[in-house]
Every structure is written in C-alpha cells, then in structure tokens.
C-alpha cells in the first residue's frame, strides 16, 4: 500500500518535472543539442562517410562539396568524418573526467564530513590549495611531467574538478548528520560506511547530478583547449580543439576546417551549458548562481 502511494507520487513528480522542463525553452534547446552530440558520438563507428584517419594526398584541402561534405584537411582526411569521431573522443574524455572527479570528490567529501577533525581539515585545505592554481597552469604542470596526451588531459581536469564536488558533498553530508534517520542509524549500530553509502549518498545524488551536469560544458571546453594547445588528444585521433589548431594557419584560403570544428565545439558546449543551467534551476533551487 505504502509503496503504491510512493509510486504514484513519483509519477506525478516526474510528469510535473517534464512539464516544467518543456516550458523552459533554453533547456529544451540545450537538450536537443546535447542529444545530437551524444547520438553522433555513440553512432560514430557507423555514420562516418569516410575513414577518419585515411590520408589522401590527391585530395588535400578539398573545399566542401559532393565527395567530402565538409571538405578535407592538409593531408586529405575527410573533415566531416573527423568531426564525428571528434565528438566521441571529446565525450569519452569528459565522461572519464567526471567519473573520476565524482568518485574522488564524493568519497573525500563524505569521509571528511563524517570524520571531521584533522582528516576534514586536510581534505578541505588540499581542495583550497588545488583551487588556488589557475586551471590551465595545473594542466601545464602535469603535461610537463607526463608529456602531452589523453592521460594528461583526464588527470589534470580531474584534479581541478574534484574539489568543487568534495565541497558540495561535505556541506550536504554535514547537514544530513543532524537528521533523525541518521541518528536512528547510528543508535541501531549501523557501520559508518553503510550509513554514508545507504542513507546519505541517495540523498545527495540529485545535487551531485546537477553539479556534474553544470560541469560537463566546462570539461568539454577545457579538453578542447588543451588539445588546441597540443597538450591533449594526439594524432591520429581527431579532436575538435586540434582540428581548429590545424585549421588556423589555412584560415585565409581554406577556412572550412577551423570554422566547421569551431561550430561543432561551440554548439556542443552551448548545449551542455543550457541543459545544465536548466536542470539546476529546475532540480535544485538551493544552488544559486555564484
């Protein structure tokens, strides 16, 4: 009986959420752009018109046309195919970064809030110090040590992303600690780990989802920036940032490479940001713009 009531409440909640979501024009626009980017990435093995890595010296810098919809680059590779695969590369990197940052940040934040004392102080000071370095400077430091490449991108973006998640998790768990159900769990002898994972985590997941969705745009942009500078994704894998770098010197006569990659990148990040902002406003009125 009780379960039924909850299910009904959830269904209306979901319907209500959907109605409000659809009414937010900008969020819907963001959703469409994100779906386009994600679909392109997922379907990339099947929908590329040509092999993204095959060079062809007979067709260098072809303008957009019948054979190559968006033209070719300096070594005759199909720009459209590289854009499509670039979507997958970009989103896989973003997903990896967010997964690592979420796991590390949530764990650190939960344990810090629960244990308090020196561990709490240590985690929070580490977070403060990490945030005191400009993002790209962290990436440069790591790139100097590890060399350019995807591991460098993922590591440096995870390093700058976890502190924010740890801070939010910590403050949410701190406020949960004074809740009655947590007291009840403590009194009945539940292990701290179980309390954190079973009782606290489910309560903070919505806030974490909002935080992560607002962060995707940033991560996609940061990966593109690192790849643009040559510190990130390396050849022969395509990345939108790298394609813009390759396209800049040829901007005068063959603008199609840089402009096509720039458009794809810009629209994708706009999509993630619009969707993230929309979700934040709808799901969590507590996290206000700062």
């Amino acid at each position: 009986m009780n379960g039924n009531v909850e299910v009904v409440a959830d269904a209306t909640g979901a319907r209500d959420f959907l109605r409000r979501f659809i009414r937010t024009r900008s969020a819907v626009l963001g959703f469409i752009l994100v779906v386009l980017a994600v679909a392109t990435a997922v379907l990339s093995p099947w929908i590329t018109p040509n092999d993204f890595s095959r060079t062809n010296m007979a067709f260098i810098w072809e303008p957009p046309g019948q054979d190559f919809v968006l033209g070719t680059d300096a070594v005759g590779r199909d720009v459209l195919s590289r854009l499509i695969v670039g979507a997958a590369v970009s989103l896989v990197v973003a997903l990896s970064v967010l997964s690592i940052a979420l796991v590390v940040g949530t764990t650190a934040g939960m344990v810090a809030a629960w244990k308090g004392g020196w561990f709490d102080a240590f985690v929070m000071r580490t977070a403060d110090v990490t945030l005191a370095f400009p993002d790209l400077i962290v990436a440069i430091l790591i790139a100097a040590m590890l060399g350019p490449g995807i591991p460098t991108v993922i590591l440096s973006l995870a390093v700058v992303s976890w502190p924010g998640i740890a801070r939010i998790t910590r403050s949410l768990v701190l406020s949960l600690r004074s809740e009655l159900f947590v007291d009840a769990a403590i009194v009945s002898g539940t292990a701290a780990r179980t309390i954190l994972l079973r009782h606290c985590l489910p309560n903070i997941v919505p806030a974490l989802i909002v935080r992560a969705s607002v962060g995707v745009g940033f991560v996609v942009m940061a990966e593109a920036t690192l790849s643009f500078l040559g510190l990130g994704v390396q050849e022969p894998l395509p990345s939108w940032g790298g394609m813009i770098r390759d396209g800049l010197p040829a901007l005068r006569s063959e603008p199609h490479l840089a402009l096509a990659a720039g458009t794809a990148l810009g629209l994708t990040i706009i999509g993630f940001n619009l969707l993230g902002d929309g979700l934040r406003d709808l799901l969590d009125p507590r996290i206000r713009e700062r």
Binding site: L136, I137, A224, R245, L259, I270, F272, R288
Partner: protein
C-alpha cells in the same frame, strides 16, 4: 582590519609552498636527463658533462638543490634554461613578463563596464524579448572557447574585412582582437552575475521605498540599486582573472604574441623545464596576489566579511 589582512596573507602560504614543491619536483624528477639531452652528439665528452652538471647544480644532493632553488626564488632567480644552455631563465622571460598581465588587465577593463551594463539592462527588462536575447548571447559568450571565437574573428575581421592584422605584436591594432576575445567570456560572466544580483536588489524594500517616494527610475537604478550590485561583483573579479590567465596563454599562442603564456607552451615542447616551471610559479603567484587583493578590498568594503573571517 589588520588581523583580517594578516590572516589572508597567511592563507597564501600553503599555496606558495605547494607551488614551490611541485615546480621543484617537476624540474628534477621528469623523465630524461636534461644534461644528456643538452650534450646531444657530444655525449661522450665527460669534461663538458661535468662542467654542465656543476653549472646547473645537478651534481649536488637533492636536498641542497632544493635549498638552492628556494633561496634562488627568494632572490627572483629561477636558475638556468635547458633550451638555451647557460642562459638564466629570467633572461628568457624578462621581455615577456608584462604582456600577459597587460592583456588580462585590458580585457578586464573592457569587460567590467560592458558586462555590468548588459546584466543591468537584462534585469531591468526582465522577461522581455531583450532579456531573453541577452541571456542567449551571454550563454554563447560563456560557451564558445576563445580559440574557436578567434578562428571566427580572424576569418571575419582580419581576413574578410581586413580591419585588423591576423597576428603579431607591434602596433595597437594587433592588440584589439586578442583583448576583445579575452574580454567576451569575462563580460558574459559578469553580466550573468550582474543580472542575478540586480534582480535581487530590485526586490529590496529600499528600492520599493525609493520608488514609492516618487524618485525617477534613473535615480532608483543609479543611486540605489547599482551600487549594491557592484560589491558582490568585486568578489568574482579574482575568479575572472584566473580565467583570463588561462585565456592569455591561448590568445598569445593564436596571435603569436611573445608573452609568458606562449613561452610556457613552447617550453613544454622544448622540454625546457626551468622556464616552464618559472612561468607556472609566476602565474600562480600572480593569481594568489590578485585574490589576496580582492579579499582585502572586499573586507574594506564590507565590514561583516572581515569580522566573520577573524572569528
């Protein structure tokens, strides 16, 4: 106030320590021996090798090297470059030192008035077409990475219209596109904040009172609302400067501007660790000082902050 400033100053300490340790570690423990690379085909020349090792201080224990590094930093000495053997790092970066801060400052000067104006305008026209239009422009300004924006701007304004040079760093015209591209995301960020804060302020009792007693809308906006928007805006200027630092590195690379950012990227690829790490130190220090200054200013403007922080 003194206690507050001292506390903030103390807060810089862990950041500096972390930066010193990290840059030292990166300099000393990276893969590949710099002296071997420097020697190149003279690899068998033991005398030259010993001389170079002594010159770079690499023949001494790591602990001594660390003390040397720290005391060098205190004197503004970053050691010797790897790429230009025997040349001090300070010599390599000397001429570039002011370009990145200058670009960032110019961009911020441009972004603050434009950002606040757009944000206030959007707030005053809340829920109209103008508001929605401004919001969409702001999202685009925040979302499109500066190098993608640069591709469009260079193609349009430099190549198609011919208004500005494509790259370089000689006349004021060379600075226009880089500064504008740096300023756009900063202005968009400021405008979003200004809009949010302005909407909040416009709902305050004192604004209603000001309207009720018949003050003109202009006075309500300029005298009673705008001032209260400026204070919270001040606090995010530090954050924006962090973004601008990142931005200058990208913009200098695109426009071939001989600033610290471009040198940092070149040095990574040239494996010139001392130069890279000196620039990491400088940017970190610069960012820390800006944030410190913003904190102090904020404490000056708002007494509640400094009382709370000291307590």
């Amino acid at each position: 106030m003194t206690a507050y400033v001292l506390r903030r100053l103390l807060g810089l300490f862990p950041v500096l320590v972390a930066a010193i340790i990290l840059t030292f570690a990166a300099n000393r423990f990276v893969p590949g021996d710099p002296i071997t690379i420097m020697l190149g085909d003279q690899g068998g020349n033991v005398v030259l090798e010993r001389k170079l090792r002594a010159e770079y201080g690499l023949d001494r224990p790591v602990s001594v090297q660390f003390v040397d590094y720290v005391s060098g930093l205190a004197r503004g000495d970053f050691g010797l470059s790897f790429r230009y053997p025997g040349v001090p790092v300070t010599q390599v970066i000397k001429d570039a030192l002011w370009i990145s801060p200058l670009l960032a400052a110019a961009a911020l000067t441009l972004a603050i008035p434009i950002g606040i104006a757009l944000g206030v305008l959007a707030a005053l026209r809340r829920n109209t077409l103008a508001d929605t239009g401004i919001i969409l422009i702001l999202v685009a300004g925040l979302s499109i990475p500066n190098f993608a924006l640069a591709a469009f701007f260079v193609w349009g304004f430099a190549l198609k219209l011919g208004w500005f040079p494509v790259a370089g760093w000689t006349t004021w015209k060379h600075a226009v596109l880089p500064v504008v591209i740096l300023a756009i995301p900063a202005a968009a960020y400021l405008a979003r904040l200004a809009r949010t804060f302005m909407l909040e302020v416009l709902q305050q009792d004192y604004v209603r009172t000001a309207r009720a007693k018949g003050l003109s809308e202009r006075l309500v906006v300029w005298r009673h609302s705008l001032r209260n928007v400026l204070v919270p805006i001040l606090t995010v200027c530090g954050l924006i400067f962090g973004g601008l630092i990142t931005g200058t590195i990208v913009v200098e690379t695109i426009f071939n501007i001989p600033g610290l950012g471009r040198i940092a990227i070149e040095s990574i690829f040239a494996r010139d660790y001392p130069v890279t790490m000196a620039i990491v130190m400088l940017f970190t220090l610069f960012y820390a000082v800006i944030n410190f200054a913003v904190d102090v200013l904020y404490g000056l403007v708002d007494p509640r902050i400094r009382v709370e922080a000291v307590r």
